[in-house]
Amino acid sequence: MTLDRRPRLAVWKFASCDGCQLSLLDCEDELLAVADAIEIAHFPEASRRSVEGPYDLSLVEGSITTPRDLERIREIRGISRTLVTIGACATAGGIQALRNYADIKEYMSIVYAHPEYIDVLARATPIADHVPVDFELRGCPVNKQQLLEVVNAFLNGRPPAIPNYSVCLECKRRAAVCVMVAHGTPCLGPVTQAGCGAICPGFTRGCYGCFGPQDTPNTESLAQAWLRAGKSGAEVARVFHTFNCGAEPFASTGKRHDPNHQG
């Protein structure tokens, strides 16, 4: 048997919906080329076959929500040369980070018949809060072209071409009409990082902020614009507190305008 010299890829899951790692399987046209260029050594969603580490590239999905997660992510970091987190859960805590704004014990008692069996941390946190991360790929879910770009950049030893400016640049490049200006539709595009190709504004919907804050997000100014347009503080809080509720400044802006957090 000849030695396989292809870089070894591992895909790991923490608290998440699997949608981001599914994006890799979604790369149907490119998947064979990926499998040619790299050895998919550990990817339980794709194959039962698992090759032991260490790994050249680990893609990590999901947030840290249990004491066991805390141990496991350190083990994974230890056997990964490059570690890239993928998706809003891994980069910002995900939708489950909403619990960071509530009392976990209180609603565990409501949700579970036997909360004593549940062993979770009080907060859902991104991977980078616990181990060094080489690159964070945003999105809920990640964009498969961007995922390929990151894998590709890693294989070719170059920085990934993943912009961190606002969705508005992509929106205008695709010649979409601004939904805020032309329709009065609240849109998170101006404060959200590009990467999706401005899908929602392209279909005359406001941006939901799936890719988290852009590099210089003026969330308070946008919040004020919505309040002037007649939205309530609770509505402002709700739009900032979705998939990226754990990412600053979405976190603090949402909290500031949430009537339940004031006083």
């Binding site: 080329a33 294989l155 071409a161 961190n164 805020m180 101006p190 404060v191 005359t204 003026n218 100014s221």
Partner: protein, 376 residues
């Protein structure tokens, strides 16, 4: 030589059909998603008959008109630069070979365009981009190839929007050059168009459709239409000594105040008809045997735009807004010999926060820190 002619609505339809018959792709105004944008049109029936718009800072709404006018709308969210200076363009590809690599040009023959309904402000903007992208030390061959054979049918403005200020920038409302043909839409007593010929190509095209020489009354009506637009101009800028005014107010507190509002979203630069900045991205295939260089629109409002060795030069929003506005109206003059603003008002209408460049300039002038804007 007669230079002013009249054509009917049907005549305009015939003129568009002639252009199309010459193998040109017609780009003109169409209603889409609640705005009048420029897109491919097949002929007269695609034009926004009976549609106008109302614009304010950060607000745009279509409005139905009862007169069936085709060109009674104001600035479009889209600038013509999209078709001359595309938002994304693959410049070249490189293929790895045993002895190195080979570069393959990606340049394809650009589409042969005819622009229908270009406003005076946008004609000036195109002239400014000509200067920047073709007439400087470095000539952009992609822009030049698209620009060379474009046919321009201008549309004189008969009204102005609330965010318009072309009269202040001396770029309108009446277009006097830079077109092949310029139409003024006249609605009374019957729907017709006064056409001015601006080039041989324009004259040749007109000769192929039914037309008649315009009378003095028609010409007076056309001039009056432009005067109506001038009177309706919604915004104003005092451009006296504007270069020294801005250079002398680099530390004005207004920059920080506006930065509280500015979203750094880059919409103003995307809609600006003169903003030309681009970024380069390199992509590779998975095996590393092929590389591709892509150019796309960039903006001075992004942090990466000013990233150089050691970090980002313009980390804060105030420095980015100051850079943009000062470049448009001051350093643009040093660099290219003209103002970089044509008064189309797009940056005002399409700023989600409604920041108004004319208001910013007025405040800086009113609170001039060093008397920099005063006459020497």
């Amino acid at each position: 030589m007669e230079n002013r002619f009249l054509i009917t609505l049907e005549g305009l339809g015939a003129l568009l059909a002639e252009l199309k018959g010459m193998g040109r792709t017609l780009i003109g105004p169409v209603v889409r998603d609640g705005a009048i944008v420029y897109d491919e049109i097949t002929g007269l029936r695609d034009l926004p008959a009976g549609w106008g718009d109302v614009q304010e800072a950060g607000r745009y709404r279509l409005e139905k008109r009862d007169d069936g006018a085709l060109f009674a709308y104001n600035s479009s969210p889209m600038a013509w630069k999209r078709f001359l200076h595309p938002p994304a363009l693959t410049l070249w590809k490189a293929r790895r070979r045993d002895d190195g690599f080979r570069i393959e040009s990606e340049a394809q023959a650009p589409p042969l365009h005819a622009f229908i309904g270009v406003r005076a402000c946008d004609l000036r903007a195109i002239a400014i981009q000509d200067r920047v992208l073709m007439e400087d030390r470095f000539r952009d061959p992609h822009y030049a190839a698209r620009r060379r054979d474009v046919f321009i049918l201008a549309a004189q403005c008969a009204q102005a929007g609330n965010t318009c200020f072309c009269a202040s920038m001396d770029s309108g409302p009446r277009a006097t050059q830079g077109f092949d043909l310029a139409l003024t839409e006249l609605l009374h007593p019957e729907h017709r168009f006064l056409l001015e010929v601006g080039s041989e190509a324009g004259g040749r095209l007109l000769s192929r459709v039914p037309h008649q020489v315009a009378g003095e009354a028609d010409w007076a009506a056309a001039l009056q239409a432009t005067e109506n637009a001038r009177a309706q101009m919604g915004r104003h800028v005092d451009t006296r000594n504007i270069k020294t005014l801005l250079y002398g107010n680099a530390e004005h507190p207004r920059w920080e105040e506006t930065a509280q509002r500015c979203l750094a979203c880059a919409n103003c630069t995307m809609v600006c008809p003169t903003c030309f900045c681009t970024a380069i991205e390199d992509h590779t295939d998975l095996e590393g045997s092929e590389a591709r260089r892509v150019r796309h629109w960039d903006s001075c409002f992004t942090s990466q735009f000013s990233h150089i060795h050691g970090g980002v030069v313009r980390a804060g929003i105030a420095s980015r807004y100051r850079q943009w506005l000062t470049h448009k109206l001051a350093s643009w003059q040093d660099q290219f010999g003209t103002l970089g603003c044509v008064g189309c008002g797009r940056c005002i209408s399409w700023c989600p926060e409604g920041i108004d460049i004319t208001e910013e300039l007025a405040v800086i002038r009113a609170q001039d820190q060093n008397g920099a804007g005063e006459d020497a």
